[in-house]
Every structure is written in C-alpha cells, then in structure tokens.
C-alpha cells in the first residue's frame, strides 16, 4: 500500500476562543481527488486553511509528502508542493493579470508562463489589465493556473464553482479533471454535490467541525439521499 500524500490526524483548530475543528482525521492519496462536503460554516474552509498553514492556531498533525508541516509557515509548505486556491480566489488587484500569473516562484515540473497562455489565451490578451478586471470565471481560472507555476503535488481548492454560471462550472470541472489525469491530487471543498460527485473519488462529510461520514465514488448513487440531507439547510 502506498503512503498517503496528505495525512491529517486529530486536527483541532481555533478562532480566538472558539474551537472550530474537532479532531479531524483525513487522508489524500497521491493523484486522488477528495471532496469535503458540508453546509456553510461546517469547517471545510477552515480545514483547508489549517492544512495550508494560513490559520495558525491549531493542534494535531499534518503530514504532507512524508514530512510534518504543522509548524511550517505557509510559504515553506507551498515550497514543498502544496497549493491553495482560496474561496475568494485571491486575485491581486494591484497586479496585472500577467504579474498575477508569474508571481509564484517557478519550480521544476511547474507550468511555464507559455503553457498558461496557450491553455488560456484570454490571460495573455488581458495580460496588462489589473487582475480584478477579469470576469469571475476568468479569475477562477487564473487562481488555479497561477498556483500550477510551482508544480504542486496537492491542490487545495475552495469552492471553485461558487457564484459561476453552469457553463463556466463545467469548464472548471474539465480543468480539474485534466489536472487530476496528470497526477495532481486535489482536496476540494464544495457545496455543489453534482460538481463534487463528478470529480471526487471520495467524499468526507462535515457537520459542525467534525467529519461524520465518508462516501466512496461507487457508493454516491446509493447514498444520494443521505448526502442531500447532510447538505440541505
């Protein structure tokens, strides 16, 4: 059996006084797409931030690619091959589109600027515009390809479908599928069950900062009612 790429054990996280994640255990195998499903406020985004080292007040262990990264600052975690696309996308408006694309340090195995522009010609056409002038879908594309420049092994993707038209969501799904086909592992946060079940090999279900269920791709159809119930308000 191969070792997990990401192994999170007994993860607890805190915002000030409030305890928001309660002893999470989760794993992502190399090349696997795993989704975190749950309602708003269930702790999915917090989980990604805790793994990436963006949220600092947490306990437990986060092992990534064989090394404990819990104490590392997020730029060092990034250097080890983890990438985070935040929910609000994090496009920098004081940078041009081109500067956004080329901001992360290029690493071996990462996407060259040339590959980015060939895959998304719109990013070349709009290269000189401020990053914030792109449409929502274009910003999401930019946010995803930007982190590929460093050649990550694991992509933490926070609600990529949020607020986007179905046709754009479809394209983003294609993109994630393609990346996963190239061997990139993805930890996906979603509330859109249709989108998540198309992409993910496995789903963890979040309720109130705890993982309460785990559903494999093959069981999604049979357990559809349970999943819908978990997600409905």
């Amino acid at each position: 059996m191969t070792a997990a790429l990401l192994d999170v054990r007994d993860l607890n996280a805190y915002y000030g006084q409030s305890h928001v994640l309660h002893g999470l255990n989760l794993r992502v195998m190399p090349g696997e797409v795993v989704s975190l499903l749950g309602r708003n406020g269930a702790g999915k985004t917090t989980t990604l931030k805790s793994i990436m080292g963006v949220l600092r007040s947490r306990t437990g262990s986060v092992t990534f690619d064989g090394a404990d990264v819990l104490r590392l600052p997020s730029h060092r975690i990034a250097a080890r091959g983890m990438a985070w696309v935040p929910e609000e996308r994090g496009i920098l408006s004081s940078l041009s589109v081109r500067e956004n694309v080329e901001l992360p340090p290029a690493r071996p195995g990462g996407w060259s600027a040339e590959r980015v522009y060939e895959t998304f010609p719109v990013l070349r056409e709009r290269g000189q515009h401020p990053g914030s002038k792109l449409s929502g879908g274009e910003q999401q594309m930019l946010a995803i390809v930007r982190v590929l420049r460093s050649g990550p092994k694991l992509l933490l993707l926070d609600e990529p479908s949020e607020g986007l038209a179905p046709v754009i969501v479809q394209r983003i799904g294609d993109m994630v599928e393609r990346l996963s086909g190239e061997g990139l592992a993805v930890l996906l946060v979603e509330q859109n069950l249709k989108f998540a079940s198309r992409l993910a090999d496995r789903h963890y279900v979040f309720v109130d900062g705890r993982i309460v269920d785990e559903v494999k791709r093959d069981d999604v159809q049979a357990r559809r009612d349970d999943l819908v119930r978990y997600l409905s308000v």
Binding site: G90, E99, L103
Partner: protein, 296 residues
C-alpha cells in the same frame, strides 16, 4: 515683486520639495507594506547626515563615498531594528508602534548629541559641499547654486527609479502583492517577512540619503530631522497614505507651493503647508492620491 525673485523661490521650493519627496516616499513604501507609521523617519534622516559627517571625521571619506555608504548603513540599522523590535508589534494596536518609534527617535537624537559634544565638542557641524558642485549655474533666466540643482536632480531620479521598480518590475510585483494580501502572497510561496525587512531598509535608506544630501545645505545637527518630519507628515496626509506616485508629486508640489506662498505673503511661511493639509482633509480625507481604506 519680479519674476526673477519668484523663479528663485520656485527653485528653493523644489529643493525643499526634494527632501519632502524622498522622506514621504520612504514613509509611503513603509506604510504600504508594514502598515506602520515610522515616526523615527526624521531621526534616521538626521542619522544619514551624521554618519556622513562621522565617516569624514573618522575615515576621511568625502561626500561621494558617504552619499552611498551612509544611506546603506542607515538601511542596515533600520533592518536590524525592524527584525529585533518593530516585528514584535505587528498585529498590535498602532499606538504601540508610535510609542516605540518615538522613543527610538529621542534615543537617537540624544545619542548623536552626546557623541558630537564629547568627541567633537560641537552641537552642530558644517559639512563641506563637494568641490565640483560649488558655485552657481547661470540658467539664463536665473542664477542658482550648483549643489542645490544637483539635489533636485538626484532626488527626482531616485524617486522615479523607486517608483519604476515598485510599479514595473517583478520585485515591485512581489512588494505590491505582499502589501495588498500578505496571506495569499505567502501561500503562493513567497517569504513575505523577508521582503518586509527589505522594504523597511529601502524606506529608511531613502531617509538616510536625504540626510546626506541635506548636510551641505543645513549643518549636521541632532534635531535637524525633528521639524522636517512634521512637515513631511503633513505632505503624507495631503498626498494620501501609501501612494507611491502621490508622495513624490505631493512632496515637490508642496515644496514649491510653500516657498512661493511664503514669498507672496511672508507671515504664512510656516503655516501654509498645514492650512493646505486642513483643506485637503476637509475636501478629500484620504488625501489627493489616496484610496478609501476599503478600496485597497
């Protein structure tokens, strides 16, 4: 009043403006990235002048080597202070920082005063203008001291290079990204903390450079930064906090406006800048080039 006299005032204003621009540019760069108001800026300007003086006394170095060396030493000191002291206050209330940098200002001033008194038995010392820049230049319509023209030109070049680096280069993109969203920038693999220290060094280095440039015009004196920094803060308020281009344009413009205003109506000489600041605050509280806090 004739045109000749007004033109000379414009030039004098540009000289003052050169110092305002260099200092407020440094403050703007620092504020943008560190979100702190560096109250120590005036003392570091003075330190630039003093280090140039001391390098001359101890090592016999003249103006040109000191023009490079003194700002570098000030920048190094600034970076050491940022690492050891300022960095401990990030995330706390801004008033802590104000107290720290104000305290460091008093400390620096008195230390320099003690050294000047005990080592050289002076409370202020003149600094020789480099020989190539002594004398005047006849511009045809006006005669003006060579050295002062040099100050205007060098300040302009340094300001424009700084602006270019920040707005147009990869280094600048990293600085702008860290300024706008340090969390995301760090997650993209950039060691924001390292850049913060560097940017602070550059900002205070600019103050040191202004100090060396000021030494031949004013004498080297422990409190030379105290008054200048107050006007500079007014310039920063007029231009808008954190705007790079704004701080340069406002620095020169305020220098000229104050000098011409003082010539037209001498009693206003000391207050004009502050009247201007009050008007700007009434009309545009975020400054001429500043963005509303939420729009950053």
């Amino acid at each position: 009043m004739n045109t000749q006299f007004l033109l000379i005032q414009v030039f004098n204003g540009l000289v003052n403006g050169a110092f305002y621009a260099l200092l407020s540019l440094g403050l703007a760069v620092i504020f943008g990235m560190l979100r702190i108001v560096n109250f120590m800026h005036g003392a570091l300007y003075m330190l630039g002048a003093f280090v140039a003086f001391a390098l001359g006394q101890i090592l016999g170095l003249g103006f040109w080597p000191s023009l490079v060396l003194a700002p570098l030493l000030v920048a190094l000191l600034g970076m050491a202070l940022e690492r050891t002291l300022l960095s401990r206050l990030y995330g706390l209330e801004p008033s802590y920082n104000l107290l720290l940098t104000f305290g460091l200002t008093l400390l620096t001033q008195d230390l320099v005063k003690q050294v000047m008194l005990s080592q050289y038995a002076v409370s202020s010392a003149p600094y020789t203008t480099p020989t190539v820049l002594t004398g005047v230049v006849n511009l045809g319509f006006v005669v003006f001291p060579k050295y002062r023209l040099f100050v205007i030109a060098l300040a302009l070049v340094v300001c424009l290079v700084t602006w270019f680096v920040i707005e147009k280069t990869r280094v600048g993109a990293i600085v702008r990204a860290s300024t706008e969203n340090p969390v995301v920038t760090r997650s993209l693999g950039i060691d924001v903390g390292k850049w913060v220290t560097g940017v602070f060094g550059v900002g205070v280095g600019l103050a040191g450079l202004a100090g060396v440039l000021a030494a031949p015009i004013y004498s080297v004196e422990p409190y030379m930064g105290a008054e200048l920094i107050i006007t500079t803060f007014a310039v920063v308020v007029i231009g808008g906090m954190g705007s790079i281009l704004g701080s340069i344009v406002t620095g020169f413009a305020v220098g000229v406006l104050a000098a011409v205003g003082a010539a037209v109506y001498p009693p206003m000489a000391n207050t004009l800048v502050f009247v201007l600041m009050a008007v700007v605050l009434l009309v545009r509280p975020t400054g001429l080039f500043g963005l509303p806090e939420g729009a950053r």
